[in-house]
Symmetry: C2
Subunit: 378 residues, 2 copies
C-alpha cells in the first residue's frame, strides 16, 4: 500500500473516524484505525463495535486531486499516535507506505515516521446494510432534531432503553423522542419521498451525540437506512453505522397533558437568564430546584432557597399569563435544557397544576415539545 | 455596609482575588472573600495564608465614578457563589448591602440575592509590610521574567527550596533563577533607582504563576518590597503578598559550563517543531527522550525510538554548526520548555560533550540562559 495525500483532507477524515475509536475496548485491533487504499480513493475506518465510522477521501473531486500515486492495499495503524502525527507534519502533503512486513512509513518534508502496523485482514468486517427502509433529510435539520432531543435521554443504565432516542417515521413525519422519566423532549419534521413507514427504533443517545459532532451544518442530505439491529447514516464521504437498542420504547404520548390550566407566553432568553441566576445558590444539590409563582400584571416570580447559603428572588415581566394562579417547583437544569433546545425567541409554557407535568413549546407552534415533571415541595 | 458599584469593575476585582482563595483551607473563614467599603473605595481580599491578594476599586478614577452611595463597613462572603452571582447579574450596576446580623443583600435590576455573611472581624489581618527594600520594574518585563523561569521549578516536595524561584538584586541587576536539578532557567534585567541590594530570597513558584495570571501586560510599574519572610507586589489597584520559602537556595553558577565544544545556531521555531514531532511517539514515557546528532553541511538529525510503537527521524538545516561532532540525548519536554521561553527567532545552543549539561541562549545575547542535563543512553 502506498499513496500521497493532502494533509488537510487526511486530518479531517482522521478526526471524524477517531470519534468511534476508544482506547478501552475488548477487541485490541479496534484501538487502531484501518486505512484502505483503492485506485479511486482512501477509506479510513474506526469502530468501538457500537459505532463504526468510515470516512472516504476520493482521489479526485471536482477536478481537485486529493490523493496521488496510489498503490492499493490496507493496513491498521495505532490510533493513539496517528492523529497527532498527521496534525504536526511539516508539509502539506503526506506519503504513507506499508510494506509486506506491516511496517508503515509516514513521510512529509524531511520528517519520517516508522510505525508498526497490524494486518487489515484481522480487522472486523463492518456489516453491509441491505435495506429498502431508507429516507433522506437535510443535514442541518437532522442536527436540530438531535440537539433538541438527545439531552433528555437517561444516563442511568437501570432502564437501558431510555438511554436511546426513539425514532419513528409515520405518515411522512419523522419523530424523535427522548425521556429519562423525569422529562421528555420530542420533535417532528416532515419527510417527503420516503419508502413508506419505519418501525419504531431506538438509537443510542451516545451515537447521535457523536454523529452530531461530525456532521457539518449543511443543507445537503443525510441518507438514513435501518435494518432490525443497525442504523446507517450516510453523507457524501461518511458512513456512520450504529447498533440499535433492544427492547420496546415506552408509550410516551399518554404522558402529555391534553388540557392546561395556566398558560404563559414569555421571552425565551429572559426566562433562561432568570432561572440561571435563581439556580446559582443550589449548584451542588442534585436537583437544583427553583420555584415559579404567578403574580398579577403579567409578572412571574422565580425564587430559590438554600438554607445554608441564602435565598434568591427575581421578578420577570412576561408577554401574558392566562388561566389559574400557580406556584410550582421544578429542576432548574431540566428547565434550562428545555428552553435552550427551543430555537425561538418566545416560548409558551402550559401548566395543568403544581403536581402535573408541564409543557414548553416554541410560540411559533413548531412541532417541538418539551415536558418536565415538577418537584413536590411541602 | 452599603454601596452601588459598576458590575464590570467588581467582576475584574473578584476574579483577581479569587486566585488566592481555595476551598480547601485549614481556616474556614479563608474560603470567603472579605469586602471592605470605605468612603474612598472598595477593597476585596482573598487569602490561602500562603498568598494574599487585595484588589482596590476606587470610588472615582479619572473622573469616572465606579462606586456610589458608600456606607462604610466590612463583611466576608462565601467565595464559592459570589463570582458566579456577579457574572450573571442582569444590570450594569450592583447594590451590595450588609446589615448588623451579617445578612447580605445583592441587588441588580429585579434580581435579589440574600446571603449569609461572616463577621469581617474574624478575618485574619494581613501583615503590613514595613520595608526599605523596595524597587520597581515595568509589569510586562516582570511577566517575562516569570514566564522565562518559573516553569523550571521543581514540582517535587523532596527539596522544597527548589519549588521556588530564587530572586536576587545585585549591582542594579535583578536575577531570577529556577531549577529542578535536571534543568535550570535564569534571566537577568537591569533595575535602576533601587534602594541598594536585596538579599537572595526564594519565592514559591505557585505564587509567581498566579501573579503572572493576574497582572496585565502593561508598561506600568510593579513595585516589589521584601521583608525576611514576605514579598509584596504592588500595582495601582492590586496588592499581592506571598510568603517566602525558608532555607538557602543552592549555588547554581558552578553548574553552568564556561567552555563549549559544539555550538549550534538554529531557528527557534524550526527546532521546536522538529523536536515536537520527534517526541510524539514517546508521549506516555516520563522522560520522552530524543537524540540529536550533528551531520555535515549544517544539518542536524533529531530521532526518537519507542520499541513498541516505532521510530521517528527528521533532518533539520541550521544556520551553523561549529566545533566537534556530537550525539546527545535529552528530554524533549525540557528542551521544548526552554526553547519556548526564549523570545527570539534564533537560538544558540552550546554543548560540552554528550554527558555534560548544555546551554540554550537567544542569539541576540539577551541575558536569558536555559540549561539542560542530558540523558544517558547506552
Amino acid at each position: 500500500m502506498k499513496f500521497i495525500i493532502q494533509r488537510d483532507q487526511l486530518m479531517a477524515g482522521v478526526q471524524d473516524v477517531m470519534k468511534a475509536i476508544s482506547s478501552r475496548t475488548a477487541i485490541p485491533i479496534l484501538t487502531g484505525m484501518k486505512i484502505d487504499a483503492k485506485s479511486d480513493g482512501i477509506t479510513l475506518t474506526g469502530s468501538d463495535s457500537d459505532i463504526s465510522i468510515e470516512s472516504y477521501i476520493p482521489a479526485e473531486e471536482n477536478g481537485i486531486v486529493h490523493v496521488e500515486q496510489i498503490e492499493e492495499g490496507s493496513i491498521v495503524l495505532q490510533a493513539r499516535y496517528f492523529p497527532d502525527i498527521v496534525r504536526k507534519l511539516p508539509e502539506k502533503t503526506v506519503e504513507i507506505e506499508a510494506d509486506s512486513n506491516l511496517k508503515v512509513t509516514i513521510r512529509s518534508g524531511k520528517a519520517e515516521f516508522n510505525l508498526n502496523g497490524q494486518d487489515a485482514e484481522e480487522y472486523p468486517q463492518l456489516p453491509k446494510l441491505q435495506t429498502d427502509n431508507s429516507f433522506e433529510i437535510p443535514t442541518d435539520l437532522f442536527k436540530s432534531l438531535i440537539k433538541q432531543t438527545v439531552f433528555a435521554v437517561s444516563t442511568m443504565e437501570t432502564r437501558p432503553i431510555l438511554t436511546g432516542v426513539n425514532v419513528k417515521l409515520e405518515n411522512e413525519t419523522l419523530i424523535f423522542t427522548a425521556t429519562d422519566s423525569h422529562r421528555l423532549a420530542s420533535r417532528e419534521i416532515p419527510v417527503k419521498e420516503s419508502n413508506g413507514n419505519l418501525p419504531s427504533i431506538v438509537v443510542p443517545g451516545k451515537s447521535l451525540t457523536e454523529l452530531n459532532k461530525i456532521l457539518d451544518d449543511t443543507e445537503e442530505n443525510v441518507e438514513i437506512s435501518v435494518t432490525n439491529n443497525q442504523i446507517l447514516f450516510r453523507t457524501k464521504h461518511l458512513n456512520f453505522l450504529s447498533r440499535l437498542l433492544d427492547g420496546n420504547y415506552p408509550e410516551t404520548s399518554r404522558l402529555i397533558p391534553e388540557q392546561s390550566k395556566t398558560i404563559l407566553h414569555v421571552k425565551t432568553k429572559e426566562l433562561i437568564n432568570t432561572i440561571d441566576r435563581a439556580s446559582l445558590l443550589a449548584k451542588e444539590e442534585r436537583n437544583n430546584v427553583v420555584k415559579l409563582t404567578t403574580k398579577g400584571d403579567n409578572v412571574l416570580e422565580i425564587t430559590s432557597n438554600s438554607p445554608e447559603v441564602g435565598r434568591v428572588a427575581e421578578e420577570i415581566s412576561v408577554q401574558s399569563i392566562e388561566g389559574e394562579e400557580l406556584k410550582i417547583s421544578f429542576s432548574s437544569k431540566y428547565m434550562l435544557d428545555a428552553l435552550k433546545a427551543i430555537e425561538n425567541d418566545e416560548v409558551k409554557v402550559e401548566f395543568t397544576g403544581a403536581m402535573r407535568p408541564f409543557i414548553i413549546k416554541p410560540a411559533n407552534n413548531d412541532p417541538i415539545l418539551q415536558l418536565i415533571l415538577p418537584v413536590r415541595t411541602y
